[in-house]
Symmetry: C2
Subunit: 342 residues, 2 copies
DNA sequence: TTCCCTAACTTGAACGATCAAATCATGCAT
DNA sequence: ATGCATGATTTGATCGTTCAAGTTAGGGAA
């Protein structure tokens, strides 16, 4: 608190001008080697750190990256966002950026938040999660020329003008289905979300593909429902009741998978309420949430740390130099974490 | 992006000076009613928003609050931090602040992060989580006069010079124990963490108190172990094996409780690996994590949203006025969420 | 009338950095 | 010797606010 070291203090102590100090730090190549070293020594000695606010005024760059923190919906899938945020914070710090949080409930509230943030704090970029068809957020940002990346591909536009990083959900469910096939299962159902969501359709597609590869069809083998435990339980029960030959289920999320497990399990311990005895059915979830780990649910794991660091790298690359570079798209492979459930 | 409206633009359009615009916004009482209205109209019309960086340069206040995001340890208890962060972000926005994230691994890394942040971004305050005995972070901040609040009381200092907000853990385990007593259980064990941790000792104390109230002792009824599922399972098995009369367990965390459930449950479904058949035992966890919800575990719930908003309120009150006010301590009551496990 | 006070508003400076232009050697070709 | 490009450094201006001091007009009280 006591001492606030400014660039002028350093300049005085090093016997050079402010600008030379600035250059020694930001454009070392224009400063004579010996001077540079002397300046850096003084910087070290006095514990000088650049004042972001002052720098921002002049350069217009805040070195802040804004990201949304979700109101944790069912708490199960919510953990994905948190792991991602943590990864983002870590990589950002390494690249000299900081993560600024905001919340918003719905696309329009979020664009309003963009507006507020840009007016006041001027973050250099935004990182968006959970993109969807007709995402108004991306168009809003693009129209105003604000840099951003999304975790989630541009579902509506295969040649989107912005960068995105995503996980190949179809590859995940395909691997899950193959795994079940390799275990001898032949009739493998799918529990997913209503059609029209990019993510959901993608995950269903992987399952379909794996079955098609071995000459199996998918008629009557899938159900679509809201992404929560109870709906998942109902859908699973319905599916299993109508087709007694189903022995395994691939699910679009751990929430749905948990619902399915309530149905699929053997008689069941007293502390797991609801659901009547049923035949054993293998279940695979998606996201490898803490809940999956806790209850031994096989699940598709997204490499969230890599997604986060990739997002940041794409951003900083464009921010710190290649502003006009063409957008890059990155599709990362998930991995299957096999546990007792299937 | 195109138009950046400054206070000078507003001044020109309203036919007043910059300072009057500033006053109309920040010190309305010194501006004539009519002028004020005119200025605010123009502000609205042009969409003027104060530039934080510029304001910060002059006032030294950034309106940023820094908070740590944890590297999610076992993922079960991690969710507590995320819910707290979300609450913080929401309340902060309402009070005109933003949350800036950082990560750190251990007290010393965290004080280093303080130093970095203070040098560059100058956050107005810090919010710390998970205080413990001999917390070096609080002394570091206090020595430098940096404002902060902690979620977690000052374990080592009953008259700490800083504000804190905490949840009454003892009251939580006490309520849990009473609940079990009311269900007819008489021998109720406790699974906790090694002595010396403020939080852990506090939670054990509530259990002890509830038993003492009805004249029961605690000899041989508790185990201390690392906070994770497998250690919890071992400790629970040990405890239950040695004392066949125990019919219920109160746990210091949902992780431990999950381990206990692995032991306590009836034969158990195929997908829950490990653990042999055992007598049914009621189990209560702590934190009401998503995992508890998912598996029907009775658990003590911390009012995290209130903790977060209280933390922020204490902070902003001191930042925006009463700087010298004596520290306030807030102990909030938790609540018991009863589910199938006990 | 003169003086002072207050309310309402304006002006100049400053926060700490960087940009753009200026200065000043130094070396090299003409 | 003159001119000119190059390298190393300095100087002045500026980003958008708010603080502190200054100005102006309009009342009263003496």
């Amino acid at each position: 608190m006591a001492d606030k070291v400014t660039i002028a203090d350093v300049a005085r102590a090093a016997g050079v001008s402010r600008q030379t100090v600035s250059n020694a730090l930001n454009t070392p190549e224009v400063v004579r080697e010996e001077t540079r070293r002397r300046v850096l020594d003084v910087v070290e000695e006095l514990g000088y750190r650049v004042n972001q606010a002052a720098r921002q005024m002049r350069t217009g760059r805040s070195r802040l990256i804004a990201a949304r923190i979700d109101p944790e919906q069912d708490g199960i899938n919510g953990s994905v966002g948190d792991r991602f945020l943590h990864g983002l914070t870590e990589t950002a710090a390494r690249e000299g950026y900081r993560v600024l949080l905001y919340t918003a409930d719905g696309d329009d509230a979020e664009t309003a938040a963009f507006d507020d943030l840009l007016g006041a704090y001027e973050p250099d970029a935004f990182v968006l999660m959970a993109t969807h068809h007709g995402d108004r957020r991306t168009t809003w940002l693009a129209e105003r020329g604000v840099p951003f990346v999304t975790f989630g591909r541009a579902w509506s536009d295969p040649a989107a003008p912005h960068c995105w990083v995503d996980v190949d959900g179809a590859a995940g469910t395909e691997a899950a289905t193959r795994h079940l096939l390799s275990q001898g299962h032949r009739r493998i159902g799918f529990l997913g979300w209503p059609k029209g969501s990019g993510v959901g359709d993608d995950r269903r597609e992987g399952w379909r593909r794996a079955l098609a590869e071995v000459g199996l069809g998918v008629a009557g083998l899938h159900r679509e429902t809201e992404d929560d435990v109870v709906p998942g339980e109902h859908a699973a029960r319905d599916l299993l009741d109508r087709d007694p030959e189903i022995t395994a289920l691939v699910c679009a999320s751990d929430s749905l998978a948990l619902g399915a497990l309530h149905v699929a399990r053997a008689p069941g311990p007293a502390w797991l309420a609801g659901g009547h005895p049923h035949r054993p059915v293998a279940v695979v979830g998606f996201d490898d949430t803490p809940v999956a780990r806790a209850i031994g649910l096989t699940s598709v794991r997204q490499p969230l740390a890599e997604v986060a660091s990739s997002c940041l790298r794409l951003l900083t690359h464009r921010l710190d130099g290649g502003a006009g570079a063409p957008p890059e798209y990155l599709l990362l492979p998930p991995s299957l974490v096999v546990r007792a459930s299937g």
